[in-house]
């Protein structure tokens, strides 16, 4: 069981809300999920209140550990969710829940303890049937996969209508379509049962959840040393689909994920091995975009192979700020150069990137020299129309002042032209072309000799991992 299982289940089911198909089977689960999402969205962030409510009020609350009163599985489920959320906040104190990255870490012991205690007096036979799904979720929270099947099977046996059965099967699949192979097998088992009732229904549920990257997360746990084996396992989900369904799912994203994992480790040879596997396995799929993906990825891997170890030259741009007169990347320090956007406000993609940068700085401090690159857009946060020089200064103020990032700032000027209707359009700045030539990356890591050690994208906390691995390796070498 993974730390964020509950969140994933919620997110997955909410994703389904947009799809009309299969609504009959997952309808009840949606409503439960919305309730759970409300819980996660509004209860968790109020940690100040949470911490102050440890007194036993007789109601479910933080610090309430008298499990004799937990007489329903939904209480255990909620206790797990609250405790998990609280632990999340402890783990990532400066991250609000909405922008927390989907990171797999072991479920905190506190959560396991809460749920085990809570479930100790409850069983499939002793609960109200309406509490079944809470019981299943609580069981999954402590990895009791096989045990969790019993209440579901009981529901299936007692189902009076075909709709009841469909509902149970669909919900079971959604719960089981998780990050471990055992659950994947369970999910496929229920998918087949569902398909026997309504042709294609099980496939739809699988497809929706793959779209939510469950399969990718599963792949992330297994790595590159046995690429072919796991790639083959990954596509067994796709084999289960009919050809029209396969066309709708970008199978190459699985291989893309594997290549990213290999790149996290700086292993170019593994990336090439994955590419070979992809060429071999993808030949049986009909997707047209697979070929262009292969071309693009092959180019990226080639670039990485040719660039890794090469010594860099200092970057050039219109305005250097906060750089003490020294262009970056420089020698003598590990140097990270990252392309950032100063005008995306509270967009999650940017906030996630800034948080990842902050954490990197918190980990490595002066050992890591950070350079942020942005390009002029004619305006900056909380400003009006600006000249390029003013904008560069506003950008520096935004990153060093507002985001409190200690970094050298390079601002390149984007060519400007005005079209006849009065709009101001901007072309790509030269520095952007440079990064595009490197395979559309946004981050470059160099060692203290100025040699490129990693090329890739730093967009969120997930992307921080390869950088940490690489920087640690460089530090060990030096």
């Amino acid at each position: 069981m993974q730390f964020n299982t509950m969140s994933k289940l919620i997110i997955n089911s909410i994703g389904n809300l947009t799809d009309s198909f299969f609504s009959q089977a997952v309808g009840l689960f949606k409503s439960l999920s919305i309730g759970a999402l409300f819980l996660v969205s509004f209860v968790l962030p109020l940690r100040a209140q949470v911490l102050s409510s440890s007194a036993d009020t007789g109601r479910m609350a933080w610090g309430h550990k008298d499990f004799s009163r937990y007489d329903r599985p939904s209480m255990c489920d909620r206790a797990a969710m609250l405790t998990g959320g609280y632990e999340t906040r402890k783990y990532d104190p400066d991250t609000i829940l909405q922008i927390r990255e989907d990171v797999d870490t072991p479920l905190p012991e506190e959560v396991v303890e809460v749920v085990k205690n809570c479930l100790s007096t409850l069983s499939t036979d002793s609960i109200d049937p309406r509490q079944t799904w809470s019981l299943v979720r609580a069981m999954l929270a402590i990895n009791e996969d096989e045990r969790s099947r019993k209440p579901i099977d009981k529901l299936l046996v007692n189902g009076k209508t075909r709709a009841d059965t469909m509902h149970v099967l669909g919900k079971a699949m959604t719960l089981y379509l998780e990050v471990t192979p055992t659950r994947l097998d369970l999910a496929l088992y229920y998918a087949r049962l569902l398909d026997s009732l309504v042709t294609g229904a099980g496939v739809q549920v699988v497809r929706f959840n793959i779209r939510n990257n469950i399969a990718n997360h599963w792949m992330r746990k297994y790595v590159v040393d046995s690429v072919k084996k796991y790639a083959s396992e990954a596509i067994k989900i796709y084999r289960y689909m009919d050809p029209t369904e396969q066309d709708m799912v970008p199978i190459h994203s699985l291989f893309g994920n594997l290549i990213n994992i290999a790149n996290e480790r700086g292993d170019v040879a593994a990336q090439e091995a994955i590419l070979d596997t992809a060429r071999e396995l993808m030949s049986e799929w009909r997707q047209d975009d697979g070929r262009s993906w292969l071309d693009r990825t092959t180019r990226s891997v080639d670039i990485r192979r040719s660039m890794y170890g090469r010594k860099t030259q200092p970057l050039q741009g219109a305005f250097w700020l906060n750089n003490q007169g020294v262009p970056r990347p420089t020698t003598g320090k590990i140097s990270l150069v990252v392309m950032v956007n100063h005008n995306c406000g509270t967009a999650i993609r940017c906030v996630s990137q800034f948080i990842a940068l902050k954490r990197l700085q918190a980990i490595y401090g002066d050992k890591l020299d950070l350079t942020l690159i942005s390009v002029t857009q004619g305006y900056a946060p909380a400003s009006g129309v600006l000249t390029p020089r003013e904008e560069a200064e506003a950008i520096a103020k935004y990153f060093t002042g507002f985001h409190k990032l200690s970094a050298a700032i390079l601002v390149d000027e984007a060519p400007v032209y005005t079209i006849e209707d009065g709009r101001v359009l901007r072309d790509l700045a030269p520095i952007v072309h440079t990064f595009n030539e490197l395979g559309s990356v946004n981050a470059i890591l160099t060692d203290s000799e100025g040699r490129i050690r990693w090329l890739g994208n730093l967009r969120s906390e997930n992307d921080r991992k390869p950088l940490v691995l690489t920087i640690n390796r460089i530090l060990e070498e030096e």
Partner: protein, 461 residues
């Protein structure tokens, strides 16, 4: 001013500038955690009277205060709206907004909050409107329903007067306040036996500019002349649209966000009547007859309105269309800064003033071999927002013109037409005049246009 003055004594009919400022200062006292506290206040008094079948049926006196309390802490902003003016309500609103900021990401102050353009105050407050209290309105209504009663027909009318205080209370920079009055009067006269129906209406900021008797006479005259209508075949007709009919047709070009430049040019798929192709609007292209210019100016004495919108964006004098060419589309300051390199907004309000010509309705009729004279149009549904193609029916007076003269009343017709088509089929325009358009004052001319598309006869009266 003290708390006792505002919160414990009967207030005036709406909040004054001082009271708005006082409320803001009191709200700031409840703020915890630093940051800024800003309020948007819309305080309104509205009085009305309504009659039907020559009898007064209702009289209203409505007061409302809408306070939008905003808190911004480290750029994480949240708003709470309340409609109660009390210390307790303010305190709860401020604290609720603060709790909501905990759920929002932090960011630099919003670009929309940092600037307030200077503006001139239009003349939109008139005591003549504000003093029209219930008794006076009842007397007026009594007088205005007499002509129809004497003529043996039924009238239904509505008088509304209001006074509004609009304020944006900000922590830094200007805190604008404006007050304005609005008055409207409309009446429908019907002959229940012979299918006759006439309508007239007008709105001004100043009640004194509303000639009630004239309006009633117009409606009564239309009712009497439109009795015993005959059915005619639908089809494409030459039409003479009275100013109200022109407005009913073309107002859709300027309301409901349709003028938004972002919608026209900053969407993946071309959207709205002013989009040319993906990424490009029709700015700079001729979209209607070159005789047409559409102005927008809060200071226009014949078409004035409050100088800023609820966000504090100042309305600027502009010409949306000049000599038939689309010149501007509306945008907020964010769009101005980000896409146009302009440090200001160009908001629209739905109000407009359309240019006219030298002709008169009588001349237009005499120039028409066969056509229809239209009092007003009621649009029921927009069929295509790309072309503003809409369908609806004619109402309250439709006459056939034959050989340069109004020959007889005809039954109402359903039309399916676009203002863009009609304004490209113009033949003549008359002198523009104020029309009935409460809230979004408008000035439109009578027009004569060809090939107006009527698609069915309807039994609507």
């Amino acid at each position: 001013m003290t708390q006792d003055d505002l919160f414990n004594k009967p207030a005036d009919r709406f909040l004054s500038k001082e009271e708005c400022a006082f409320i803001a200062s009191e709200a700031r006292k409840f703020a915890n955690g630093g940051g800024i506290t800003a309020l948007r206040i819309e305080s309104k008094w509205m009085g009305n009277i309504r009659w039907a079948r020559n009898n007064i049926i209702s009289s209203g006196d409505v007061r409302s205060n809408v306070l939008r309390v905003g808190r911004g802490i480290n750029g994480a902003a949240a708003n709470v709206t309340i409609n109660e003016v009390s210390l307790r309500a303010l305190e709860r609103a401020v604290h609720r907004a603060e709790r909501l900021t905990n759920l929002r990401p932090e960011a630099p102050a919003d670009i929309m909050d940092s600037y307030m353009a200077p503006y001139e105050e239009p003349k939109i407050w008139f005591d003549s409107t504000y003093v029209l209290l219930a008794e006076a309105r009842a007397d007026l209504a009594h007088d205005l329903m007499q002509p129809a009663a004497k003529a043996g027909v039924l009238s239904a009318g509505y008088i509304q007067v209001s006074g509004t205080g609009l304020s944006r209370q900000r922590e830094v920079g200007a805190s604008p306040y404006t007050r304005f009055t609005e008055a409207q009067f409309s009446v429908t006269v019907r002959d229940p036996k012979n299918y006759g129906s006439g309508w007239a209406g007008i709105d001004w900021n100043d009640w004194n500019r509303i000639d009630g008797k004239q309006i009633v006479e117009t409606a009564l005259d239309k009712c009497l002349r439109s009795r015993n209508p005959v059915a005619i075949e639908p089809g494409r007709y030459m039409v003479v649209l009275e100013p109200q009919a022109t407005h009913d047709l073309v107002s859709g070009m300027f309301g409901g966000g349709i003028l938004e430049r972002k919608i026209a040019e900053d969407t993946q798929v071309p959207s709205g009547p002013y989009a040319l192709r993906r990424g490009y609007s029709k700015i700079g292209l001729r979209i209607v007859d070159p005789r047409i210019t559409i102005r927008f100016n809060p200071l226009d004495p014949n078409c004035s309105f409050p100088p800023f919108d609820q966000f504090g964006e100042v309305y600027r004098e502009t010409k949306w269309i000049e000599n038939g060419i689309l010149k501007e589309l509306a945008y907020n300051r964010r769009y101005g800064v980000e896409k146009l390199g302009r440090d200001y907004a160009l908001p629209s309000q739905g109000s407009y003033s359309m240019s006219g010509g030298d002709s008169t309705i009588e001349t237009m009729i005499s120039n028409t071999e066969r056509g229809l004279l239209v009092t007003r149009l009621m649009i029921e549904r927009v069929i295509s927002s790309q072309q503003l193609l809409a369908t609806g029916v004619t109402r309250d007076g439709l006459w056939l013109i034959e050989k340069g003269k109004v020959s007889q009343a005809v039954k109402n017709l359903r039309f399916t037409e676009s203002p863009l088509f009609v304004l490209n089929n113009l033949l003549e325009m008359g002198k523009p005049e104020r029309v009935f358009s409460p809230g979004t004052p408008a000035v439109a001319p009578p027009i004569r246009a060809q090939d107006f598309s009527f698609t069915a006869t309807v039994d609507a009266i």
